[in-house]
Amino acid sequence: MLGAAGLAAAETAVRTPAFFEPVAEPAGMILDYGSLLVATCLGIFIVVMGLLIFTIIRFRASSADDGLEPPQVYGSDQLELAWTIVPVLLVVVLGLVTAGRIVAIQRDTAPEGSLSVRVVGHQWWWELEYPGYGFTTANELHLPVDRTAFLELESQDVIHSFWLPQLSGKTDLIPNRRNVLWIEPKETGMVVGQCAEYCGTQHAHMLLRVFVHEPDEFERWAQEQQRQARTAPGVEEGRALFARTACVNCHTVRGVSEIGRFGPDLTHLMSRTTLAAGAATNDRANLVDWITDPNHIKPGARMPAMKLSEREIGLVAGYLASLD
């Protein structure tokens, strides 16, 4: 009933993030445009490759060669003219179409009634802030279907790139700059993507999941996220330990400590399906493993091993597992 738990199992099955199966705009517009380019290029390919293969076969020196040198042809201005102008015409047409598509897709300002999301890239995870709702989450973006989401893309450290092939093309997250991107999902379900600009050691494990919900379901999810962290019974010791150690220097748990900004917000950790930006599924065993030694799951990760005793790790993991 809460967050990810409310999603049907079928919706969380990973689909290949192929851009030829778009579930949103502008991915659909890009696919249309791409098909045109591919068709044009395929036409050229068939013509030229056919010519090449024909030439090779037809003009192979045969074993029964007469020993004469073939006629020496120096060139033909007419032919040169023709195979210059025809490509020029093609380029003009393709250029006009391209320009039109760029203008149609690239938007600088948020459309009326769009959902605003701020995406901040970190080495190697995604910070996702919903300014309209006043909460922050990480690595799993939730969007309502049939409503434009307007994303502001920023980076905390190096250049990352936001890429969900089935939703839209990629746009870089660049420190000191603000890029924007819009997405209008057309189907509910989950799609995956990941950072597409090399950003250091764990670039490979900077994965991103997007859940597209029906509007009312999305509102429910957002309200859950807006709550302060749950104080479940039986994990008080773990909570105290969490608040006392260096965990809180980096992590925020709303209601416990809100100074940590360097790592992901853990307020509703268990509403997420994965840990460490998609490097592992989010369950108790992986949580223990992750706290014990992050390098085991994600070598080079920025989170340090806290050097807690086995008992303490169990307590902290127990507390974190209660944050749904």
Partner: protein, 559 residues
């Protein structure tokens, strides 16, 4: 004039230095353009083997999802070193080497314009390469010994800045490339001066072999592009050592500025590497089609046009950084324009073959492979130039496939063609035609298994430069196929090495003109004497040897 008697025998195969040490001394002190050319090509091929091993390791890691053969850091170093090596330590020296060896021979000169500068250029290149590879064991960075750079071959800021790349590994990248860059610049100066001032009598610009024309354009591009990289690298060094802020985003610096500078070098660099491939093809295809090149002046014009357009397209590497609409449109359209002169070339090569008698010798096989693959590379380039589609494809495996089609399918195939074609001239010995065919077919198959497949991974959403990937993305089978192709490619390269060894073990003399060709280098002995031509030749057409072979039907009556 002080003229001491020195042996200076040019022969490769025997009699040069009396002793091993003596022959080493001769090679390291040489200022002969042919020896320097061979040094360039030889060290380029050595680096090629190193870069190939790096690639093979990466493909082994990626063959399975979740593979733990390599540490992430190790993988990141491998792709950085692989890219840097292949571009700067393989492509650049080999094209410079062929230019060095062939330009004076083709224009009927006895040496390059600046023989000593030529030697200096080679040594700068070699030491630059050594400095780069020193990082594997000599780095004094934070992480102890042995940290090769891991910032990717284009070292995007701010990842390559002080804050995110501690230690000295990135400095080795900067310094190594900078040093070898000085070598490339001096080589370009030398080639231009040679071509302009050292032509033999009658060798007007309109009669230059296309090879020389294209190397001339390449040299100008080098002069335009390499100093830009050097300047950007100097800025990065200032950032890293003096605390300057060129690309320091914390102090207001701009990460995108580095991209502009890098690609203002980097895109012309693509043509610097590719036009020599056109140059080899333009010499080899006519000879094995037994026809004169079709549309000589259009080929020259198209080359110059490519050179001009090449400096205006750099930001098509940057469609995803959030440039404005106007810039995106400009760079998309101008990039498509590159297809026009490139298409002209392709059509002219096919027209050269059309109506000829095509002899399927090994060099020609590689050239035909080049034509087909370069067509694909050009068309996938058009796809990538369409900015909206580029938003999907850039930084994915599609791009990896595209530029390997350019650099392997285009450049490396023509380099192999050139090696088979000019080997008899350089050594006086023929390479085995049989092994050459094995080489071609194995490499051809391996290349397509590896790189044609990569288009698919890209379309399926796999980003480049990831050391591993989850098994549920649908990429595993394609990656496995890609990796399997490596075996064929390696077997092909082994055939080449075997052919070279065999050529020396069981020598078959080539004679001065084994291919019945038409340019001046085939009129002197194989290998050519140190002075190239005892008496300097005089030419009356673009194909001086055709004129001599067909005195009743010389070229000059028709040009």
């Amino acid at each position: 004039m002080s003229a001491s008697s020195t042996p200076g025998n040019p022969s490769l195969t025997g009699g040069a230095g009396a002793t091993f040490a003596g022959s080493i001394h001769e090679w390291v002190t040489t200022v002969d353009h042919k020896r320097l050319g061979l040094l360039y090509i030889g060290s380029g091929l050595l680096f090629f083997l190193i870069g190939g091993v790096e690639a093979a390791l990466m493909r082994a890691q990626l063959a399975m999802p979740g593979n733990e053969l390599l540490e992430p850091q190790e993988f990141n170093r491998l792709f950085t070193m692989h890219g840097t090596t292949m571009v700067f330590l393989v492509g650049m020296p080999i094209i410079t080497g062929f230019g060095n060896y062939l330009i004076p021979l083709m224009i009927g000169a006895r040496d390059m314009a600046f023989p000593r500068l030529n030697a200096w250029g080679f040594w700068m290149f070699l030491f630059g390469g050594l400095v780069l590879y020193m990082s594997y064991f000599a780095s004094m960075g934070l992480y102890g010994a042995g940290t090769a750079p891991d910032v990717g071959w284009f070292a995007y800021a701010p990842l390559s800045g002080r804050a995110f790349s501690r230690g000295n590994a990135t400095d080795y990248w900067v310094l190594g490339i900078m040093i070898s860059g000085f070598g490339s610049i001096s080589g370009a100066v030398n080639m231009i001066a040679t071509t302009i001032t050292m032509r033999c009598r009658g060798m007007t610009m309109g009669r230059l072999p296309l090879f020389v024309w294209m190397m001339l354009v390449v040299s100008f591009l080098i002069l335009l592009a390499l100093p830009v990289l050097t300047a950007a690298q100097v800025m990065l060094l200032f950032d890293r050592f003096l605390g300057a802020h060129f690309f320091d985003t914390q102090a207001g610096g701009d990460a995108v500025l580095w991209q502009h500078f890098f690609w203002f070098f980097g895109h012309p660099e693509v043509y610097i590497l590719m036009i020599p491939g056109f140059a080899y093809a333009s010499e080899i295809i006519p000879v094995f089609s037994r026809k004169v090149i079709f549309g000589y002046s259009f080929m020259v014009a198209a080359t110059i046009a490519i050179g001009l357009v090449a400096v205006g397209v750099w930001a098509h590497h940057m469609f995803t950084v959030g440039m404005g609409r106007g810039l995106n449109i400009w760079f998309a359209v101008i990039t498509m324009v590159v297809g026009i002169p490139t298409g002209i070339k392709l059509f002219n090569w096919i027209a050269t073959m059309y109506g000829g008698k095509i002899q399927m010798k090994t060099p020609m096989l590689f050239c035909i492979g080049f034509l087909g693959q370069f067509l694909v590379a050009g068309l996938s380039g058009i796809l990538l130039s369409g900015a909206p589609l580029n938003w999907q494809l850039s930084d994915s495996y599609f791009v990896v496939a595209h530029f390997h089609f350019v650099l392997i399918g285009g450049l490396l195939f023509t380099i192999f063609a050139a090696l088979y074609y000019w080997f008899p001239k350089v050594t006086g010995l023929m390479l085995s035609e049989k092994l050459g065919r094995w080489h071609f077919w194995l490499f051809f198959v391996g290349f397509h298994v590896t790189f044609t497949t990569m288009h698919v991974q890209g379309i399926l959403g796999m980003p480049r430069r990831i050391y591993t990937y989850p098994g549920d993305r649908g990429w595993a089978i394609w990656n496995f196929i890609s990796s399997a192709g490596v075996v064929f490619q390696m077997a092909g390269v082994l055939c080449f090495l075997a052919a070279v060894v065999l050529a020396f073990k069981r020598p078959r003399r080539a004679g001065p003109d084994p291919w019945n060709a038409w340019t001046l280098e085939w009129s002197t002995s194989s290998p050519p004497p140190a002075y190239n031509f005892l008496t300097l030749p005089e030419v009356r057409s673009r194909r001086p040897l055709w004129d001599l072979k067909h005195p009743h039907d010389p070229d000059w009556e028709h040009e």
